[in-house]
């Protein structure tokens, strides 16, 4: 093989770049194979926000006999997708908790760190043993990377690598009934 650059090689390369770009752009609709939430002609855009899908989880005051009663539930979300069914329903696990001040709050159980499902840990001793941190009261604690969220402080991260509190559900209170109606928008985790 000759050394150095051949003129032909350079001309070929220069000619190939616009061609590759053109065919690349023509092929870009096929990206929807990879990402079914891709909107037509919006390759880099965000997906649509998901919407709540029945059944709506419903609780009454009788479900919470004591303070720190914590009930797991699942909440359905519908994503618009450009697949044959045009939508996909995802199940988000959640916790609904009665605080000592009488408020009832609901959080997504998906850890904002890296998407594992966290636990409700009532006993501070148990938290100290398993999660490297002894809290003042009951907390949410994630087994994957040991993030701990203080429920009494609106889900504030008190230990571990999580960047923010878990996402909250909006509750609609009518009389003694609580309905979980929507989930705070956010990232995947």
């Amino acid at each position: 093989m000759e050394d150095g650059v051949k003129r032909r090689t350079i001309l070929k390369t220069v000619a190939a770049v616009p061609l590759a770009l053109t065919f690349g752009l023509l092929a870009s609709p096929f990206l929807r194979f990879l990402r079914p939430t891709l909107k037509p002609l919006d390759v880099l855009g965000h997906s649509d926000q998901p919407i709540a899908e029945p059944p709506i989880p419903t609780f009454t005051d009788k479900d919470f006999p004591d303070e720190w009663t914590c009930i797991p539930f699942t909440f359905n979300q519908k994503y618009i997708e450009y697949n044959p069914e045009l939508a996909e329903v995802r199940t988000i696990p959640g916790f609904i908790v009665k605080l000592p001040n009488g408020d009832v709050v609901a959080y997504s159980r998906i850890c904002p760190h890296l998407g594992c499902v966290f636990n409700f840990v009532k006993d501070p001793e148990e938290c100290a043993k398993g999660y490297n941190f002894k809290p003042a009261g009951p907390v949410f604690a994630c087994p994957c990377h040991l993030s701990v969220y203080d429920i009494a402080q609106a889900g504030k991260v008190v230990s571990g690598p999580a960047p923010r509190p878990p996402r909250r559900f909006s509750l609609k209170q009518t009389g003694d009934t609580y309905q979980v109606i929507s989930l705070e928008a956010g990232s995947i985790a």
Partner: protein
């Protein structure tokens, strides 16, 4: 391949000469690529470490063959996947052996690829002019790891499920990286690269569902099929022997797989449950080290480090060549020796820590920082001491370039130490901190307006506000203005300040706003307000207590730097000073009379590179 001698950049032909030089540089290195140690087939006969490439190739084929058998029985659906694996393991004749060979074959590929990369570093197989081999070795390792990852989700057990969840979610933190992320959206159009990566991996949305299994199954096959085609074309074009192992060696490797499969049946674990994450939960063994790191660090930093590791590994052979020229003896390349030890040891120790579950995520990180940085520093210092052992002027002259490379690496560590110092004191992150410093630099340009601007911003931002990124500051502040006393007035003052001209405006008006209604910033102050750099500065100033205000929620600031962190911060500084001193000493001693001119001696590896 004495390529560079023919097209030497001559006078009047410098640009073309540079093109030719670069072309030859890359062409030579691409020609020297070594996918499965094809250029070491003679050594492979006597030294088993040079047979790692062929062993990798053999085990790859064993894994693909057993995989083909498994596909006959495996059902890639959420409901049936786990049961079909159970059937393969217990009901299909020899199913346990086939599955064991597949699993342990994959493990053997990862072990072989890892050992091969380490061997390349220790024996300097990338010298001369073969630096890309490290990249190739790394790609084979990463492809095996990705095949492993996509493969073990298919079992649909707890470990696989949660490891996949973590693996598919961590790329979303790329959207918070400097420049490319959403954080800088007013400044740079974000590609949402992290979000898109996660969606492509998971299918869509944020959960692991049937779509995830389907596309992981597809990826699992693609990770072997596409490389297989490329490798076959490569072998065919170059007429290389595919597997220089005799039948005895092949049989030994295969028997090792089969015997392991029989005495240690591949585990299946518990069926995955999307509602319960068990404590503790692990990933597959080769990701354990990273998994432990994710416990220790802020997720953005951990994601950055995950991406920086492969880039560093690819750069290391080049750094080694700048430091030591054509030297191949590992004891004379102490920087690479220490990097190899540091990399290997942290992987093993982190994995061990997570298995026995004794790490404390609050107390350990300063120790890890110190040990890792000091290990690298020890390598650099050792390297510099070798220069100090130079006997004559020629050797001294050769030391100038390594010294400057060492100084750059030490300097980088000093910059990190400087940033870390303020990060530890203020709990602010690198991005906001850099912005605060930049604001501080330009602050004199708006003289008396600066204090007014900062005070208005203080009024506008209630303490403890979660500042939304990706939004213009004024827009964000208007959103919560109802809660701020005298908010409307402050907003009006801010508008007046924003239109105040200053001497540096031209610089900031070069930056597009990405807001079609106002494509140009009114002034430098407008830029600083819109991008929240003023806010970052007041956060920094308040937390450092620069003005003695010390408002209530910030009373805990400035915090203190853990004592152990001072080890590496000081170590980096000393290393840099030593490197700079070495540079000047070797420059002056290299200029001693009665020796060849130093510029000839300072680039010793070039003739060696051309002679390959």
């Amino acid at each position: 391949m004495s390529s560079s001698s023919i097209n030497k950049p001559g006078p009047g032909n410098k640009a073309w000469g540079a093109v030719t030089y670069l072309w030859d540089y890359f062409a030579t290195r691409f020609k020297n690529i070594d996918i499965f140690d094809e250029h070491h087939q003679l050594e492979a006969k006597t030294n088993p470490f040079y047979a790692l490439g062929p062993i990798f190739y053999l085990v790859w084929f064993a894994t693909m063959a057993s995989g083909l058998l498994l596909i006959c029985w495996y059902v890639p659906t959420k409901a049936a996947a786990y049961d079909s694996i159970y059937a393969i393991q217990w009901h299909v004749p020899f199913g346990n052996i086939v599955r064991g060979v597949h699993k342990y074959g994959a493990d053997a590929m990862i072990i072989a690829a890892t050992m091969r990369v380490f061997r390349m570093f220790i024996n300097a197989d990338y010298k001369p002019s073969k630096e890309f081999n490290i990249a190739i070795g790394l790609v084979t390792l990463l492809l095996s790891m990705y095949s492993g990852l996509t493969g073990y989700l298919l079992i649909w057990n707890q470990r696989a499920f949660w490891a996949t969840k973590v693996f598919a979610t961590f790329p979303t933190y790329m959207d918070q990286f400097p420049v490319m992320g959403d954080y800088y959206e007013p400044l740079v159009k974000s590609l949402h690269l992290g979000w898109n990566t996660a969606e492509v991996l998971l299918g869509a949305g944020g959960a692991i569902t049937q779509e995830t299994i389907t596309r992981f199954f597809s990826l699992h096959l693609a990770f072997s099929l596409i490389p297989l085609i490329l490798v076959e074309i490569y072998f065919y074009n170059n007429n290389y022997v595919r597997m220089p192992l005799n039948w005895i060696k092949r049989t030994v490797v295969m028997l090792m797989l089969v015997v392991t499969a029989i005495i240690l049946p591949a585990a299946q674990g518990r069926r995955s449950d999307p509602d319960v994450t068990p404590l503790p939960i692990l990933s597959d063994w080769y990701f354990l080290g990273l998994y432990q790191m994710y416990k220790y660090l802020e997720p953005v930093v951990a994601t950055e480090i995950t991406m920086v590791i492969p880039v560093t590994v690819i750069l290391l052979p080049f750094i080694d060549t700048w430091l030591c020229g054509p030297e191949k003896n590992i004891m004379k390349r102490p920087f690479i020796l220490m990097m190899t030890i540091m990399g290997g040891a942290s992987w093993i120790i982190f994995s061990y820590l997570i298995i026995i579950n004794v790490a404390n995520i609050h107390n350990d990180p300063p120790f890890w920082r110190s040990i890792s940085y000091l290990a690298i520093d020890a390598g650099i210092v050792w390297q510099l001491l070798l220069i100090w052992k130079s006997k004559d002027a020629k050797e001294w002259a050769r030391g100038a370039r390594p010294a400057i490379v060492a100084a750059v690496m030490g300097g980088l560590q000093c910059v990190l130490a400087f940033l870390y110092y303020f990060m530890a004191l203020t709990e602010m992150f690198m991005g906001p901190l850099t912005q605060a410093f930049t604001y501080m630099t330009f602050r004199p340009f708006w003289a008396d307006k600066a204090t007014a601007l900062e005070n208005v911003t203080r009024v506008l931002v209630p303490k403890g506000t979660e500042m939304p990124y990706n939004t213009d500051f004024t827009v964000a502040a208007t959103g919560w203005i109802v809660k701020v006393p005298n908010g409307d007035e402050a907003l009006k003052q801010l508008e007046v300040l924003k239109s105040t001209p200053s001497a540096i405006d031209w610089l900031f008006q070069l930056i597009p706003t990405f807001n079609p209604k106002a494509p140009v910033y009114q002034s430098a102050i407008d830029y600083m307000v819109a991008n929240k750099w003023v806010y970052d500065y007041i956060t920094f100033a308040d937390r450092m207590n620069l003005q003695g205000l010390n408002p209530a929620p910030y009373a805990v600031y400035p915090m203190h730097v853990p004592e152990v962190d001072w080890w590496w911060m000081i170590g980096g500084l000393l290393t840099t000073v030593l490197a700079i001193v070495t540079f000047f000493v070797s420059r002056s001693k290299g200029k001693a009379p009665a020796v060849p001119p130093p510029d000839k001696a300072a680039t010793p590896e070039k003739p060696a590179g051309a002679a390959s």
